[in-house]
């Protein structure tokens, strides 16, 4: 843990002001949404007919829907006709040619986060041909995945190359009618990731490693589909601890996971989108639908998320525990600092017998941040012997922030067990003084207390990211106490 005397919050803000304001020359549709826009989009992406049909169905359904208002978040109305639904960025002519041309402040943040050297150039937007290392690394990864039979590609390519798999599984977990934002996403999504792990295969690497180096620009309506066939295993990390370059305010992504018999999917998210400035202006609205379907017996899906970015987060990674003995897990750290609002949690739907779920949620509120945990545990009559354990802890820093917990528990089978524990605590002056009296600086003391609080979630992250996530948290909370 290093100590920097200067105000890093100001530094993080600066990076956003100076980093990414250059015009991007791109192939962009005019703003607005109607059936013709969707047809044009589908045509541009050379999609098979079933995709266009599905998009149009979703769009027509979306027109009948209302934007949800039940979340504990406040924002100005979004004008959906003011958004451009297709934009293919071309390589920037004026992109930095090497790390020497990149804003040193941005590089400083990368260093503080512990991002490996060879990735920094890519993340900073240095033109690809100027990046010496990552291209060859990525090629090696590609070769290894191919040998194992794992399909991992942009979903736009999968739609063309594996239409049968996409048609079978797309929308099978999050249907095109699911909710306002998911329906919109189904109609207009442009890209995302597709993963298929064949029967009995253990994916030979953390897909995160590959993903990060290829840091695909997936745009604001991202669609991800991961299928783990019987007896397979895959671990996937989405996002990045590095501040994300992004000019879209609304993000409405959908992630679908399917685990067949004895299969396991670990899905981790580390999200650090622009949260808005200290007064709460700007910042990303992150309205995401993430759901995993434990379709097979003994299958297992775990969601781990570290949410430090976005102005507004509306996100409930969920598990449908259909298969007998299947297991769903949700581990979450959500930070709301300055004027950030987070309404996040999970749904565990127990359908199969002896299904089990664990929910560990850690909310940290600082500044004027508002952090809400909203969770549903639903045990259906068919789920004999089902078990759930939920733990929701909130940590408050300062006296202007808020923590709210809305747990819903519905148990319809008398043999099921559901446990719920919740705590709220405050970083106390006593704790800080104790650490400082032993010689730690205030920042190091805060970091230590916060990471202790988040420990049970961090240990679920892939090792290299656990360290970065911890660093990210300290950057996000810099100056929050005192």
């Amino acid at each position: 843990m290093s100590t920097k005397p200067q105000d890093l919050e100001a530094l993080v803000g600066q990076k956003y002001r100076h980093g990414f304001v250059t015009d991007i020359e791109s192939d962009t549709f005019p703003p607005g949404l109607d059936e013709d826009v969707i047809r044009a989009l589908s045509h541009k992406k050379r999609e098979p007919a079933f995709m266009l049909e599905w998009r149009l169905k979703a769009y027509r359904h979306w027109l009948t829907m209302q934007e949800p208002r039940w979340a504990r978040v406040h924002y100005n109305p979004i004008d959906y006709q003011a958004i451009s639904y297709y934009s293919a960025p071309k390589p920037k002519a004026n992109a930095p040619k090497s790390l020497e041309e990149v804003d040193p402040k941005l590089l400083e943040t990368y260093a503080k986060l512990g991002i490996p050297l060879h990735e920094r150039a890519k993340l900073a937007g240095v033109a690809v041909d100027a990046v010496f290392d990552s291209v060859s690394v990525a090629t090696t990864f590609k070769e290894r995945l191919k040998q194992a039979g794992v399909i991992f590609m942009p979903i736009s390519e999968a739609i063309q190359q594996h239409p049968d798999l996409v048609e079978q599984y797309l929308g099978s977990v999050v249907p095109h009618t699911d909710n306002f934002f998911a329906s919109l996403n189904s109609a207009v999504f442009t890209d995302g990731s597709f993963v298929y792990v064949p029967r009995g295969v253990r994916c030979p690497m953390e897909l995160s490693t590959y993903f990060r180096i290829n840091a695909a620009k997936t745009g604001q309506f991202e669609r991800t589909l991961i299928i783990a066939d019987a007896g397979s295993y895959v671990s996937y990390l989405e996002g990045c601890t590095a501040p994300m370059r992004d000019e879209n305010q609304l993000h409405a992504a959908v992630v679908e996971l399917v685990a067949l018999d004895d299969a396991q999917i670990k899905y981790a998210t580390v999200q650090n989108w622009y949260p808005g400035d200290e007064q709460g202006r700007g910042g990303i609205y992150n309205f995401v639908t993430k759901r995993g379907d434990c379709r097979g017996r003994n299958s297992r899906i775990s969601w781990t998320q570290v949410e430090t970015g976005s102005a507004i987060t509306w996100k409930y990674p969920s598990c449908i525990l259909r298969g007998e003995n299947s297991i769903g897990e949700f581990y979450s750290v959500a930070v709301a600092n300055n004027y950030q609002q987070a309404d996040t949690g999970t749904k565990m739907i127990h359908i199969g017998a002896n299904t089990r779920s664990t929910i560990i949620s850690k909310g940290i509120s600082a500044g004027h941040g508002q952090n809400t945990y909203r969770g549903l545990v639903k045990i259906l009559p068919s789920a004999a012997g089902a078990r759930n354990f939920t733990q929701c802890d909130s940590l408050l820093m300062g006296d202007q922030c808020g923590a709210h917990t809305f747990p819903y528990v519905e148990v319809r089978n008398a043999t099921a067990t559901a446990e719920h524990e919740a705590t709220t605590s405050r970083i106390g002056d006593d704790q800080l003084f104790y650490c400082q009296q032993r010689g730690l600086s205030e920042e190091d003391a805060v970091n230590m207390i916060v990471s202790g609080f988040c420990k049970s979630v961090f240990k679920e992250l892939p090792m290299e990211f656990a360290v970065e996530a911890q660093n990210l948290l300290s950057v996000s909370l810099e100056g929050a106490v005192g």
Binding site: Q431, F433, Y434, Q436, R438, G439, M448, S451, G452, K455
Partner: protein, 255 residues
């Protein structure tokens, strides 16, 4: 005569508008052990906290010089780096933070500030194991959260463990003896005695003279109404044990 390690002059301190320390004078020479006794509410713990750098108190007037430096001008962590250690009366719990991790971070923060090389994990573990043996602490203490679920006695032993590892120049122990059974008291006293050196000073804040049977002080001071009203050798502690505090107070008022 050499300059004392700690020299407190006319220290007057208030909290929430109430005066707690009122013109306190005290000198602690290098290498000596002084006991600070006094009735409840006399300001003993406040003095300990103020010396360690707690910022909740308003310094009304007075000076504190430590190794010739203006102690009150230094932030808490700088005092720690300069060798000031406070053994807390009520050590706080820090859930999820490994006990040994805090201790290692503390030691390295102090070493770094003094320009010494940081100790690595192996070196540190060896050191801490040796000290734990001395304190008769179980290995499981290493991996528990800081004071998390510790009994009162365990917390106090943990404070002395930190003392042994950090090896401060000035150790202020705030009622480290309270709430200890006789066996634990002996262990704690042994811990303190192993650290007694010509270059290290102790300020033992205590209610009872019990601890002083095991750790023999060079001087005993009695604090009442926010100032030192009587000082003497260790026989003063015995006298206090027999006669209580009222006579000292009465004497002070007359004088």
């Amino acid at each position: 005569m050499t300059e004392p390690l700690l020299k407190i002059c006319d220290l007057t301190v208030a909290a929430s508008g109430k005066t707690i320390l009122n013109g306190l004078n005290l000198e602690l020479p290098v290498g000596e052990v002084h006991a600070l006794m006094g009735p409840n509410g006399s300001g003993k713990s406040t003095l300990a906290q103020v010396l360690a750098g707690r910022s909740d108190y308003a310094i009304v007037r007075g000076t504190v010089s430590y190794q010739g430096r203006d102690l009150l001008a230094m932030p808490a962590e700088e005092r720690a780096h300069a060798g000031v250690f406070l053994g807390f009366q009520y050590p706080v719990e820090i859930p999820g933070v490994n006990n040994v991790y805090l201790l290692k971070a503390a030691l390295n923060a102090q070493r770094k500030a003094r320009g010494e090389p940081e100790v690595d994990a192996f070196e540190f573990l060896g050191l801490v194991r040796e000290k734990m043996k001395l304190m008769r602490m179980d290995e499981s203490f290493l991996n528990r959260g800081v004071n998390e679920g510790f009994s009162g006695g365990e917390k106090k032993r943990n404070e002395i463990l930190q003392l042994l590892v950090l090896e401060p120049t000035l150790a202020i122990l705030d009622e480290t003896d309270s709430g200890l059974d006789i066996d634990a008291l002996k262990v704690v006293a042994d811990g303190i005695n192993t650290l007694r050196r010509a270059e290290r000073s102790f300020l033992l804040v205590t209610h009872y003279q019990r601890l002083l049977n095991y750790v023999q002080p060079d001087r005993v001071h009695v604090l009442a109404d926010g100032r030192v009203v009587k000082s003497g050798d260790r026989t003063l502690a015995l006298e206090l044990e027999q006669r209580g505090y009222d006579w000292v107070r009465a004497q002070a008022k007359v004088a």
